[in-house]
Symmetry: C2
Subunit: 280 residues, 2 copies
């Protein structure tokens, strides 16, 4: 791709996946993190060439910078470092909500530095660069949220990177559409899993009474509270709407149960079966 130096800002689980899947594509990969242990591990395992706690040096040498920070830290990072990027640098991110961030970032950045919003739809219920793995990205979905001010070439480079990282599908939508969709496919699912686990009355040892269904539905109830508070609060209007839509759907089943209305119940089951079959 012609780019030689990559910097990952925030070397956690996802940052580590970027570094590991792009190891062969860049001559040099730098990692920025506040955690000495993360940097030491990544350097020792040759995930990165060098680790830094300060951003200035690595980002001033980079062709591509990937920001894998918590949502509320992105703007601060750009604000503090906007003068340090060299012209031609493409910045991208891995943040699960977009809001009006991209607009704001582009307004802050000097001419010649582009920012392409992105969201790798992959994760694990564990944290840390130690748990990063090429397999996490393989076959997953990648979303790019173009802004009218973006260069088409920057978008294409980030798209090319996604393919190299192993994603099976790259889709472009506006930041607004992204946040609306993600409220449903990601945040609502986490809200449901958390609520399901928390509604356990624990009169019995749940462990010996569960099947795969409970295990599958609740795996994502193990959640990083600071990150997900950020994601939920940063997209709360959309998420509240999706929760309410889901509640209506669940109410159809509850009402059918109360009325002994098997016809409605079966119709809902047939509908969900048909729709779920369309999902790979």
């Amino acid at each position: 791709m012609g780019s030689k130096t990559l910097t990952i800002v925030g070397l956690g689980l996802i940052g580590g996946c970027y570094a590991k899947t792009l190891r062969e594509e860049f001559d040099t990969i730098y990692g920025i993190d506040l955690d000495d242990l993360a940097l030491a591990y990544a350097k020792r395992e040759n995930v990165i060439n060098e680790g830094y706690k300060e951003a200035k040096i690595p980002i001033s040498k980079s062709d591509i910078v990937v920001i894998c920070l918590y949502p509320d830290l992105l703007l601060k990072f750009i604000e503090e470092n906007k003068e340090n990027f060299r012209p031609g640098t493409i910045i991208t991110d891995a943040i699960g909500i977009k809001g009006d961030t991209i607009e704001k970032v582009l307004d802050m950045l000097p001419k010649g530095v582009d920012f392409v919003g992105a969201h790798p739809m992959a994760g694990r219920e564990v944290q840390g660069v130690w748990n990063s793995d090429k397999k996490i990205f393989r076959g997953a979905n990648f979303i790019i949220t173009p802004h009218p001010k973006n260069n088409e070439e920057s978008l294409n480079i980030v798209e090319e990177m996604a393919v190299k990282m192993g994603f099976k599908s790259v889709t472009r939508v506006t930041p607004k559409e992204h946040d609306e969709i993600i409220a449903f496919t990601s945040q609502l699912t986490h809200a449901i899993a958390v609520s399901l686990v928390n509604s356990d009355e624990k009169n019995f040892d749940t462990n010996v009474f569960i099947g795969d269904s409970y295990r599958d539905l609740t795996r994502i109830a193990m959640i990083n509270e600071d990150l997900w508070d950020n994601l939920f609060m940063g997209n709360k209007k959309n998420l509240i709407k999706k929760i309410e839509k889901f509640e209506k759907s669940l109410n159809i089943l509850k009402d059918a149960l109360k009325k002994g209305d098997s016809k409605t119940l079966k119709n809902e089951f047939i509908r969900s079966t048909k729709r779920r079959k369309e999902i790979h």
Copy 2:
């Protein structure tokens, strides 16, 4: 176990798993089903020794009979066949709700024939004996619902069978407790998955915007509508209670979002993470 002949009534996915996991434990396994293709497949693959569409002959020769029918067919089957079991036969079932069935069945059966309620907590989103597999039972939970009229020996034989079939845990609870617990761990999870899929507004191609979380949470939305109508309606009081408890839990998140109350949100996330870590 001293028993030599086993009959499976209802040779679908679960019936097939019983036959396959118990193949070495019995000299003879009979299968009863209305579907010629299921019987032909099972005989050809040596899952059973012989298939029957009528119950009388096989069950009169059996030491153990496992009933893998839809919930609403169990009592009818016992009523029609109660004279055909020979003394000493142990009947058990694989039905996901218990209600007052066991009491009724025991009242119908002649002296010397015992009925042990059981529930193998395992399944797949596919159907048919063709999809049965020893792996489905391996490491799963098995529940026995003893009745005061049961012989202790019958309970022990069914428990021993469960271990031979590969279940990792066998737990005894009353039918009433079973139904209350299962409303939460099994039926509520299915209600949630169905409702989640059905609340998709489908303004976008969901497929390219999902991660593992959505896939995991909705896998069980592919559901056999007749069976699950039976299970839901047969346990509706408990299920309605569990749905309402879950709704309250989800409302805590929704209210926290509306109020911008990060403290509550994080507390809920911490609580679910802690609880989910206790589940293997």
